[in-house]
């Protein structure tokens, strides 16, 4: 098994996606995702925000391919992550809320785990994993076990593990949510820089609006059953109006209806040299 050749990430297309679960105890059907339509362009960084139980994590599992859609389609390029599960080996990488490191492996061994699964030669595994650990500031901790590292350091190892694959699609589920604000901001910045360098499409699931605004090219706001309430291109909003944007998203989440400020064109940039979107990162 070799690392698949990659000509850049394919577009993601979601059409009338529906996911229904049946409750084990009552047998009642629960609609987690109801007719979601979404397109994500290659190399886009999309933040998906929504309240707890809105279907964000179900969407994450469908993207990974661990769950089958009940109806509709989710395609990455012309393949389905569920039905063409093996095709995406080495092409999709994930970072979870908890680091999910294997406690019996050192930081280096954890970082090279996905490369082992791809049967990359041992020397190459080591070289690539070490280089990512170095980039994440963990060169001196390569031989440390997870319990010897702080929460932030462990999450860095988890990020190194994901980037070691240099995947087409990077998925992060509340990846920085449990860290203190300083560490989280630092890691968000690193994650964004590395994702752009790798040319990966990144999808971040979060309930933190600050995180969504600071990281995403786009913010997709999920209402109940993953109903798409708003789809915001952050670059069209001047930085000085981010406070307004945050309030509008907050109001949308609370009312489960698109806030009027998000349905109108974004406020114009001020003429005082407002920084453009590409200067954000």
């Amino acid at each position: 098994m070799k690392v698949p050749p990659s000509g850049g990430p394919p577009p993601i297309s979601v059409r009338s996606l529906r996911k229904v679960f049946r409750q084990a105890t009552s047998g009642q059907a629960v609609v987690a995702i109801d007719r979601l339509d979404l397109d994500i362009a290659p190399r886009e960084v999309v933040a998906i925000v929504g309240q707890t139980g809105c279907g964000k994590s179900t969407f994450f599992d469908l993207m990974i391919g661990l769950e089958a859609p009940s109806d509709g389609t989710l395609r990455i390029g012309d393949k389905s992550p569920y039905h063409d599960f093996d095709f995406f080996r080495g092409r999709i990488a994930t970072v979870f809320q908890q680091d999910r490191l294997l406690p019996w492996r050192t930081a280096l061994e954890n970082a090279k785990l996905p490369l082992e699964l791809l049967s990359v030669p041992e020397d190459e595994q080591r070289k690539r994993a070490l280089s990512w650990l170095q980039r994440l500031g963990l060169a001196n901790f390569a031989n440390a076990y997870p319990h010897e590292l702080s929460g932030g350091m462990r999450q860095r190892v988890a990020i190194a593990r994901a980037f070691a694959l240099q995947p087409d699609i990077l998925l992060a589920d509340e990846a920085f949510g449990h860290l203190d604000e300083v560490t989280a901001a630092e890691l968000r910045e690193t994650f964004l820089t590395l994702a752009r360098e790798c040319g990966s499409t990144a999808i971040l699931i979060t309930h933190q609006l600050e995180e969504a605004i600071s990281v995403g090219d786009r913010i997709v706001v999920f209402g109940k059953s993953a109903k798409r309430l708003a789809d915001i291109h952050v670059e069209s909003w001047p930085k000085s109006k981010y406070g307004l944007l945050r309030e509008a998203i907050q109001a949308t989440l609370q009312s489960d209806k698109p806030d009027v400020r998000l349905t109108q064109p974004p406020p114009p940039r001020s003429s005082t040299g407002e920084r453009g979107p590409n200067e954000r990162a």
Partner: protein, 257 residues
């Protein structure tokens, strides 16, 4: 917590003072009884003194110890391999689990003596009989322990692993088996103790070598000192095997410290 850590840190062969005192008290009582037995109406052979027991220990035949040890180790290895592979298959297939689970429960409920009698009636070869009894008794214990441990591997880790799309052998090799290593060692300790007891009974029936056979001979000769000597050997063997497993455990699980 501190107490648990202390207990874990104490090597199994490190005898605390209280153990030595209790052993010494037992030895004194035994020796006293062996001298007083004629006055208590107990036959002199029933409670031999330590000098007599020491003579019996000196006559212990290493070949019988080696044979019993070889039988125990071979059967435990076979039981372990069988248990692990069946546990992996049952973990993967709910249908197989549903079919095999009741059977395993029944196997575990059958008394050891019944298995020995079945073995004697079914199989002509002594070695096969002994191996059959050991595997049929220890195999299900390994299987149930391994299956339970696999099911207790945190869902988050299984989810993470599956997100990287491993093949089935990779899933078990990289995640499940390393994750259940602590249970593997615990199960080995339990099964060593079980196997030592079962092999002795199995060797009593039909075997012409091994510790069980020697115990049978000692019983026919009314030699309590020989029974005592072979029992001491069995207990020492058990402690030795447990100490070896504990040493391997400490080495393989050093990431926990």
């Amino acid at each position: 917590m501190a107490l648990e850590e202390h207990r874990e840190a104490v090597p199994s062969l490190n005898f605390p003072r209280q153990t030595l005192v209790s052993l010494l008290v037992f030895a004194i009582c035994w020796e006293a009884l062996s001298h007083l037995s004629p006055y208590l109406g107990i036959p002199p052979f029933a409670i031999p003194g330590f000098l007599t027991i020491a003579k019996s220990v000196a006559h212990v035949t290493p070949i019988d110890i080696a044979v019993t040890l070889a039988r125990v180790i071979a059967a435990l290895l076979a039981s372990f391999v069988l248990g692990v592979f069946l546990a992996m298959a049952m973990y993967r297939s709910e249908t197989l689990d549903n079919y095999l689970h009741p059977m395993i429960r029944i196997l575990m409920a059958v008394p050891v003596v019944s298995w020995i009698l079945f073995a004697v009636l079914w199989f002509p070869g002594v070695e096969f009989r002994i191996c059959f009894v050991l595997v049929i008794v220890c195999g299900p214990v390994f299987l149930v322990d391994m299956l339970d441990a696999m099911r207790n591997v945190p869902r988050e880790l299984r989810h993470m692993m599956r997100s990287f799309r491993p093949t089935t052998p990779q899933f078990f090799r990289k995640l499940m088996l390393p994750a259940i290593v602590p249970t593997i060692f615990t199960s080995w300790k339990v099964n060593i103790s079980l196997a030592i007891r079962v092999v002795t009974i199995a060797e009593l029936v039909g075997a012409v070598t091994g510790i069980g056979h020697q115990l049978s001979v000692a019983q026919e000769l009314f030699s309590v000192s020989d029974v005592f000597a072979w029992t001491v050997v069995l207990v020492a063997l058990l402690f030795l095997l447990e100490a070896l497993v504990a040493a391997a455990e400490a080495r393989m699980l050093r990431w926990r410290t």
